[in-house]
């Protein structure tokens, strides 16, 4: 199985291991990666993307911690069976929330670029805080 990982953007300000985690989650959500399928090994993936192997290892550990993949000793990393469906439902629900928010922002006369910046600002600075912007 050859998952098409994209080169992470090192200059985006988002840690590379988080970008990898997002890619794996996205691949599972779109069905590109299915339960039981194997992910590339840490070393080949690091070489392919020309990024630090410790970064790949960190992403895999985090994904294992979230229960999304299983690290089997000596055998590699595998997509676990449970999560994908549930995540897909969450993502669909999330899309609806975001779409509604965007509609309301557009109604207030905000342009696409301004909306994008608002989202990025909130994601960048206040992760997990659930705080309202002034």
């Amino acid at each position: 199985m050859e998952t098409s990982f994209l080169r992470p953007n090192p200059s985006s300000g988002v840690p590379i291991y988080l970008q990898l985690i997002e890619q794996v989650k996205h691949a599972i959500e779109t069905g590109a990666l299915r339960a039981g399928e194997q992910l590339p090994g840490i070393r080949p993936l690091a070489e392919r993307l020309v990024i630090n192997p410790n970064t790949v290892a960190k992403a895999y550990r985090e994904l294992e911690h979230e229960g999304i993949i299983e690290l089997r000793h000596g055998a590699g990393a595998f997509v676990s069976g449970v999560r994908p469906r549930q995540m897909t439902a969450n993502v669909r629900a999330g899309q609806a929330i975001v779409a509604a928010a965007i509609t309301r922002l557009r109604a207030r006369g905000l342009g696409e670029e301004e909306i994008r910046r608002l989202f990025e600002a909130q994601l960048g600075g206040l992760s997990g805080k659930g705080e309202r912007s002034a």
Partner: protein, 298 residues
């Protein structure tokens, strides 16, 4: 704490009236690919030469593999166990690539013959080529092949991609990534290509004018550094933040910009008590952090 392969404390080096290093401290952890960033003349090469015992510090102390670099016996052991590729690459011009490799291999019992062909092919070097006919990129490539095949525990590289085209730079970086992934190796490499450090390094040491300004895991820098813009109805106030992590503040009319090295949430919260009309938080790239820590306004 991970084991420190390199640790330097309060290094000073003066050449006549010039202070090249002014109390530089750093550490490099085992197994890391650590980038060493600084402007030209910041003291990168001087630091690397001191670590390898090729130059003595005026004061201060450094240890590599726990051995003191200023001890002449220990420094021979350091050079035996650490491979160095400097900016000038002394190679025997009259030899062929194959001869240079055989000649070098004879000195190192742990020589990785299995890697020779792989790396030569990667860098597009034919074994029968005369060293004097190699292009600049191939010369760097050959110096790296010699360093990588020694199977050293530590690779110290002074601007390994300087003067290489982008494709060749990428191959060099890939070789380094492959090397740290496959062996118990630590790599400490200087560079002023911030993008390449961002791409492959897991840790970074930034120096400016002979002093260390930042030693950190890159992911921590990315996760913690933020630029916060507070926009006010009227002229921006000049608050004194109680929250930690404020590196720099800049007022421009109604806008107050704060560069935070940590705790952006706390700073935002505190800033909100000043009743701004809007708050904007944006990530900061390593390039901006570098410029900021080198005293260059971003």
């Amino acid at each position: 704490m991970p084991e420190a392969i390199i640790e330097a404390t309060n290094l000073r080096k003066t050449y006549g009236d010039v202070e090249a290093l002014r109390g530089l401290s750093l550490d490099v952890h085992a197994g890391s690919l650590c980038g060493f960033l600084g402007r030209n003349g910041a003291g990168k090469t001087t630091t690397l030469k001191i670590l390898l015992g090729m130059m003595r510090p005026t004061s201060g102390e450094a240890r590599v593999f726990g051995r003191r670099v200023s001890d002449s016996v220990a420094s021979i052991e350091i050079r035996r166990d650490a491979a160095f590729v400097g900016e000038d690459k002394p190679l025997f011009d009259y030899m062929t690539v194959q001869d240079v490799i055989r000649f070098t291999a004879a000195f190192y019992p742990q020589w990785r013959q299995d890697l020779e062909q792989y790396y030569l092919a990667t860098f597009g070097i034919a074994p029968a080529m005369k060293v004097k006919t190699l292009s600049r990129g191939m010369r760097t490539g050959l110096a790296l092949v010699l360093a990588l095949c020694r199977n050293a525990r530590l690779l110290i590289l002074d601007e390994p991609t300087s003067g290489l085209d982008p494709a060749m730079s990428e191959q060099v970086l890939q070789a380094l990534v492959r090397h740290v992934a496959s062996a118990e190796t630590t790599v400490f490499f200087s560079s002023h290509q911030i993008a390449e450090v961002e791409q492959v390094a897991d840790r970074v040491v930034i120096i400016d004018r002979g002093r260390t300004t930042i030693t950190a895991a890159l992911d921590d820098l990315r996760a913690q550094y933020r630029r916060i813009h507070f926009v006010f109805d009227d002229d921006a106030p000049a608050p004194v933040f109680r929250a930690k992590g404020v590196e720099r503040m800049h007022r421009d009319g109604r806008v107050l910009t704060v560069l935070a090295s940590a705790g952006a949430e706390g700073i935002v919260e505190e800033g909100r008590t000043l009743r701004p009309v809007s708050v904007d938080v944006v990530p900061v790239s390593l390039k901006e952090i570098f410029l900021e820590s080198s005293g260059v306004e971003g």
